[in-house]
Symmetry: C2
Subunit: 430 residues, 2 copies
């Protein structure tokens, strides 16, 4: 076992790289990457970092030089031989050769594209412009770097034993959560915590704790590098960026209305089985489900993200029933701001009614709440989202207006076209 | 920092030696050893292990083969060159050349003498017979081995992460105690926990936590090896074995009555300053103080051991006053079954009235109470005491009849000669 406290104590070496591998990213980036590589090689997409927890002035906490060093280090990375072998030879979601030789070959030659970094009003403006298939790769490392640099800034002044006790307390907390989750067995949980993790070593420790603690109840990790090293499943499907870009590229209101289904039409040509999981909330779940073609209801499952999860699950069950599907054969993936009490509540609500999977993210890999003064290690809600595609502004509505993004006029247009009515605002904690 | 959980996980290697150095012992054994070497080279003393926590059947928990292996390993040890250099060159209690060249030369040639080991009624009978200067050296390693083998037996079935969380919780507990002690500053605390430690690595960790956490408030450790490696003070003075042996060798009632003072008369020829600390309770504190010659009252301090500590401190203050001494210049060392609440209580009682030092033992280096089911790691009260000297039975009365030892007829004789009246029994927890 790595002694995390010692390593953290040594963090102010010249540079202790945060992201050391192209595969230190979420699996869904590779799945989406392959679809983008095949279908949208010429599309240019701009991504940008947005810190929704604006009270935390990241530019005052994180040194811009250190941030540049870490981002520059990512630009020096390339896929290693062993990593490439793993992508080509490993079985993902029960299938061999998930990634085509031409996509892996492209990935072998891939280098992270340039970034634009500025300070503005206490926050960092960090923007990635270029071919979609390249810029999409920045989402996870950029977020992981910012989150870990923030952790390091807080940890820097602490003594060796203070650090060791900090990690002792955090480990005990994770383990007590794992012991609680065991009482809910059978339950299926995956680590979705790469982007907002406290640090790489910490995420790796959390995954190992889940392996030992949950046994069969552990589905895997979204982190490709950790999945490879720990020999567990790499998990994940797709994200809002697909419908957001498809929508931004639509040339008419009719194309815009169809765009979220076009995403699925493309996706099901590329992937099958448990990878056919709808993410319905990009422009409002209700309208998405109401207007969906019947073949969408035949997909394996649904991801409940921005909607209150029990309401979201009930909505999905009602919809499947209305479309002649048996909900007990369907899979619902819950993944929004989960912690164990919330997992237990959702599990109680749907146990025996649908198949469930839980994507446990920030509050698995970054629950240092209250462990240092002033909550300086409490996680923040930071995202890396599509801003525009081929020059057209991108929009996300979601089921929670707190999470909406895009120019106001475009948001209004999208709300009209996707028939989004009143929405319930919920705070975006993490 | 060593990753203790990993090391413990590897404990069932062929042999993972518990005691790896002649200096992995308490400093007072060397101080007493030098006095014995000079004055009693021909005296033969038998020591024996006694587990006062008889409900814990050590012979059922600890494998006799493993115990023999560990004891045999100790017999293979000899002082290393660096250790010898440290004894010759280091400053102890403000003094250089505390140990004379002839004693260090003897120690360089020293090998641990034979032991006798048998099972009896669920306990181990472990006895050391031979020259006092040799057998005295077994006390600490024998106790440390038994305590650590018991810990290892309990830890053996645990998973890697269970172990890591166990240590995370134990570390957090120690650190919270240290943080509490800081609130009592200025306070002076030493580690006295070698004999009943959870394990060597754990004691070493605890000492480092005290170094970082207490700063100037940390007096040092009784463990010579850790003092040498961590470059802190080695602490300790003398123990009950000196008056017990001197008393057992007395050839008349008058010699017996004088024997505890003869110990001090010899001691003050060998040691000065803060090493002149009376241990008055071997045959009852009240009688000892009442009959003590005036030069005893001129000593630097007193160790309060088996008596209720506030009562013991008040008794010492009254005695010093009666002998024309200023208690504010005197030192009281408290060392019996201390934990932080007890330290705070004693500190409140005597702050500003006497100088105080605290020898924190078992509940520093072995507080795993309640951390595994059935309290299987709760510390036990186990001692290694003088049984006889030159064939005469040894006796200890102390201020707590629970701790008395020796043949009943001899106990009665000692009580008469040392004028011991009614005593208050207190449970011997650790």
């Amino acid at each position: 076992m790595t002694d995390i406290a010692t390593r953290v104590y040594n963090h102010d070496w010249k540079i202790d790289p945060i992201v050391r591998s192209v595969l230190d990213t979420d699996f869904y980036k590779l799945l989406m990457g392959q679809t983008i590589f095949r279908r949208h090689p010429g599309t240019r997409v701009t991504f940008g970092i947005h810190n929704r927890t604006s009270s935390i002035r990241l530019a005052d906490i994180i040194d811009i030089g250190a941030l540049r060093e870490q981002l520059d280090h990512v630009r020096s990375l390339s896929l290693t031989r062993g990593e490439s072998t793993w992508l080509r030879g490993n079985m993902f979601y029960g299938k061999r050769q998930m990634f085509s030789p031409d996509y892996v070959a492209w990935l072998e030659g891939f280098r992270f594209p340039a970034y634009h970094l500025e300070k503005w009003d206490g926050q960092y403006e960090l923007v990635f412009e270029g071919p979609w298939v390249e810029t999409t790769m920045w989402e996870i490392p950029a977020l992981a770097i910012i989150n870990e640099l923030r952790s390091r800034a807080v940890l820097k002044g602490m003594g060796k034993f203070e650090l060791q006790i900090l990690y002792a307390r955090a480990m005990t907390r994770v383990w007590e959560k794992v012991e609680f989750l065991k009482t809910l067995a059978p339950i299926k949980i995956a680590d979705f915590g790469t982007r907002r993790r406290h640090g790489f070593l910490w995420q790796d420790w959390c995954v190992q704790a889940l392996i030992e603690g949950l046994g069969e109840g552990f589905l895997g990790t979204s982190n490709c590098l950790i999945a490879m090293r720990r020999e567990v499943e790499a998990t994940g499907t797709n994200a809002h960026e697909l419908p957001m870009v498809y929508a931004a590229l639509a040339r008419s209101d009719a194309e815009l209305a169809w765009s979220p289904y076009q995403v699925l039409a493309d996706w099901q040509e590329d992937y099958e089985g448990n990878l056919r999981v709808i993410l319905p909330d990009t422009f409002g779940t209700a309208g998405f489900l109401a207007h969906a073609p019947d073949w969408v209801a035949q997909w394996t499952g649904i991801r409940i993200d921005s909607k209150e999860p029990v309401a979201g699950g009930e909505e999905a069950i009602a919809w499947w029933r209305a479309r002649g599907q048996d909900p007990r054969e369907k899979l619902a993936i819950f993944s929004d701001a989960l912690d164990v009490e919330e997992v237990a509540r959702i599990h109680r609500a749907f146990n025996g009614r649908i198949r469930m999977g839980f994507g446990w993210g920030t509050l698995l890999t970054n629950d240092f709440r209250g462990l240092v003064p002033n909550g300086a290690l409490d996680p923040i809600s930071i995202v890396c989202k599509v801003i525009s595609a081929n020059g057209h502004a991108a929009v996300k509505l979601s089921d929670n207006p707190t999470k909406a993004m895009g120019p106001p006029a475009e948001i209004a247009r999208y709300k009209r076209i996707f028939e989004v009515g009143a929405q319930e605002a919920r705070p975006a904690l993490v």
